[in-house]
Amino acid sequence: MKADSPKRTGSGIGETVLLPVRLAMGLIDAPLRWLQRVAGIGGMAAFFLMPNMLIFGIFVLLPFFINFAYSMTGGTALFLPDRSFVGGDQYARLFDCSNYLDANSCTEDTFWTAVGNTGWFVILQVTLMIIVSLITALILNRNLMARSFWRAVFFFPVLLSPVVVGLIWKWILQRQGLLNFGLYGFGFEPFTWLNDRNWAFAATVGVSIWAHMGFYTLILLAGLQAIPKDLYEAAEMDGTRPTRAFLRITLPLLAPNLLVVVVLVLIKAVQIFDEVYVLTGGGPGTSTLYITQYIYETGFATQLRNPGLAAAASILMGVVLVVLTLLQLSLSRSSEKKGARK
């Protein structure tokens, strides 16, 4: 009887809270039943998807088509009706190169420099991000002392605004920054990290990994924890070495999570902008100028802005992102099929 009392109280509160919901459901029940009769089950699915599709249409599809329309126009005017139609001229201008491997041979050399920089950034950052996140996840999956604390430590930078991340690292890496202060204290000569093209590039890669790895570590950690322990116990009983267990058990079973992480990191890397813009401003020279900054500067930040050219560049970037997303979908489907066959 004693055990029943709180249950009754809880149920009473639940009833009170749910009462308005039930009333509302009762009110819409009749029209929904009528709709189902008229539209059928398929129509109901479309009806319930409509709000989401409406938001997607207004905030994603419509801007995409407007952006495409902009990319076919020229001039400096902002409003589409005030702009002149130039067809594919903006795309032609972007692709006007005598040698695609030499940015200086292109009319829009800065665009190709940004494309090249972004390419290198993606290759390095994605590779290092996967390795670092995986190692961190493997370590955090062990029975460490204060494991929750360490997980929070690695996740903390994810909560910071990219501008804050950029400012923190600028404060550390600038000429009179914390790093040089430390080096000077140990008798070393201060170094201008952000003025050297290689170090500045390395800094953008390192900072972006520091800022985002916590998120990917968390995804991989969830994957690691889903692997049944008895597989490792069986492997251990068979005398399997830890490296072999990692390659034969951990990696294959972690593959779906790894795939998600690879694609997410890849897309995020192509879009890199905010923390780098604050940290290096795209410098020294154009050595950390990435494609999103090029689009921003061409469309908004320079005198006599060229929204058409910026839109054309962003459409090209969008195409790359769509290809990457389709790749993810196709890979995840094929891995699901393989899993189902097994």
């Binding site: 400096t76 401003g281 410098g283 950390t288 500067e297 005198q303 802005r305």
Partner: protein, 422 residues
């Protein structure tokens, strides 16, 4: 019940009064280099006491907002009612013509007429606003470092080479990281370019290709960055035409000679204080002349305002002789107002260095070249400056040679002219 009724009535009154206030709102977008935002706020508070029907809202923003976000707002037909802007001519199509709205247009023509053309479309007699300050680009030297190094400071007609040589000696002697620095700005770079004989304006009024004068100084400048005479930090610290100043390095005593302009005087006066002695030097000489650039910030009315009469009332107040005088004296800015200049100013500072520097800039203002006076009113000036900064910084970072940079500058400017369809 009575309590609830009273509360509802109070809310209704509050709502109605706040709506009435919104009707007379005048928003000013303002950036500050020093204390001018505080001074303006004080002046506007007085205005609102005199004119309780007008509510002036001062939006203090960073300079980059004025440079990068305001133009987009204006293109979209939005923006504040009044803005403090440096890029005046290229955006002149967005300014409100105050001529039919101000109390006495003749007063405006008489006192601000010399710069009126900088902020109105070519060929019009529009009153768009007035210059809150006239700026003259010029140099500053850390006198204490020169004294400690025992190096004589170059004199009145010293050349850029003289200053470079002396600053390098001082930096080596005093273990200072930077002998010289010049703001990452096309406007600043144009002073020495003009002193080396550059001409930016072609016979048709459109940008001319870079000539020998520009090439000559740009070659020297990039060479100085390469050999460490000129601070590399400022010029390679960003891509594109982003503005960067070296004022903090000078304030921290890390810089022997800094080429910037008169607007830094209040900043230095406040932040350097008695830490070290500094002097303004005017602009070093080139083979042709010893000019810096003139320019400044103008306060302009935006034509998309919903309250043009209130805007004109605020502008009339801020352009008043006594208000301009007080603003200039408290901010240590050089005024544009003819009457104020004629009667003289008593700058409100005890800092003898700041007063001497301001006098030096007033003197430097008399030796500006004709082209330096003309460029602030030239439609393509900012386009030219942007291309200069973008490509010179790439050359400074070692990404391209001087010749390639010059070819790119010409091509960039030509493309912008073509894009604008003017």
């Amino acid at each position: 019940m009575r309590k609830t009724g009273t509360m509802l009535a109070a809310l209704a009154v509050g709502f109605l009064t706040s709506t009435a206030a919104l009707a007379g709102d005048v928003r000013i977008m303002w950036y500050s280099d020093g204390v001018e935002g505080d001074v303006l706020k004080d002046l506007l508070d007085r205005f609102m006491k005199e004119n309780p029907d007008v509510n002036v809202v001062l939006d203090n923003v960073s300079y980059s907002v004025v440079r990068e976000q305001l133009p987009v707002q204006l293109e979209a037909g939005n923006g504040p009612d009044i803005a403090r802007v440096t890029n005046l001519k290229a955006q002149s199509q967005h300014w409100l013509d105050l001529r039919p709205l101000v109390g006495d247009p003749a007063y405006w023509d008489e006192n601000f007429g010399a710069q009126a053309d900088w902020m109105r479309p070519d060929g019009s007699n529009q009153i768009s606003g007035f210059m809150t300050q006239i700026t003259i680009a010029g140099g500053f030297a850390n006198k204490t470092l020169f004294d400690q190094a025992g190096v004589a400071m170059p004199g009145k007609d010293a050349t850029w080479d003289d200053w470079a040589k002396a600053a390098k000696q001082v930096a080596e002697s005093q273990q200072v990281p930077f002998p010289m620095a010049l703001d990452r700005s096309g406007h600043r770079l144009s002073g020495p370019n003009l002193s080396y004989g550059a001409n930016y304006i072609g016979p048709d009024g459109k940008p001319a290709p870079l000539d020998e004068g520009s090439k000559s100084f740009l070659g020297k400048f990039i060479g100085w960055i390469a050999d460490g005479t000129m601070s590399k930090d400022v010029w390679v610290s960003a891509a594109g035409s982003t503005y960067r100043a070296a004022a903090d390095d000078f304030i921290n005593g890390q810089l022997v000679y800094y080429y910037s302009g008169s607007w830094q005087v209040p900043n230095f006066s406040t932040k350097i204080g008695s830490n070290f002695d500094w002097v303004a030097t005017g602009s070093p000489c080139g083979p042709v002349n010893c000019t810096g650039m003139t320019g400044g910030a103008g306060l302009v009315a935006v034509k998309y305002t919903k309250n043009p009469k209130d805007v004109a009332k605020v502008m009339d107040y801020l352009a008043r002789e006594d208000i301009v005088k007080e603003f200039s004296e408290r901010t240590l800015f050089l005024p544009a107002h003819k009457g104020v200049l004629a009667k003289g100013l008593d700058f409100k500072t005890d800092d003898a260095q700041a007063k001497a520097a301001l006098n030096e800039f007033v003197t430097a203002g008399t030796s500006l070249s004709d082209l330096a006076r003309k460029l602030p009113g030239w439609h393509w000036a900012d386009t030219f400056y942007g291309a200069l900064v973008t490509r010179v910084s790439q050359a400074a970072a070692g990404e391209m040679s001087l010749d390639e940079a010059i070819t790119r500058i010409d091509a960039d400017i030509a493309a912008k002219v073509k894009d604008s369809s003017l």
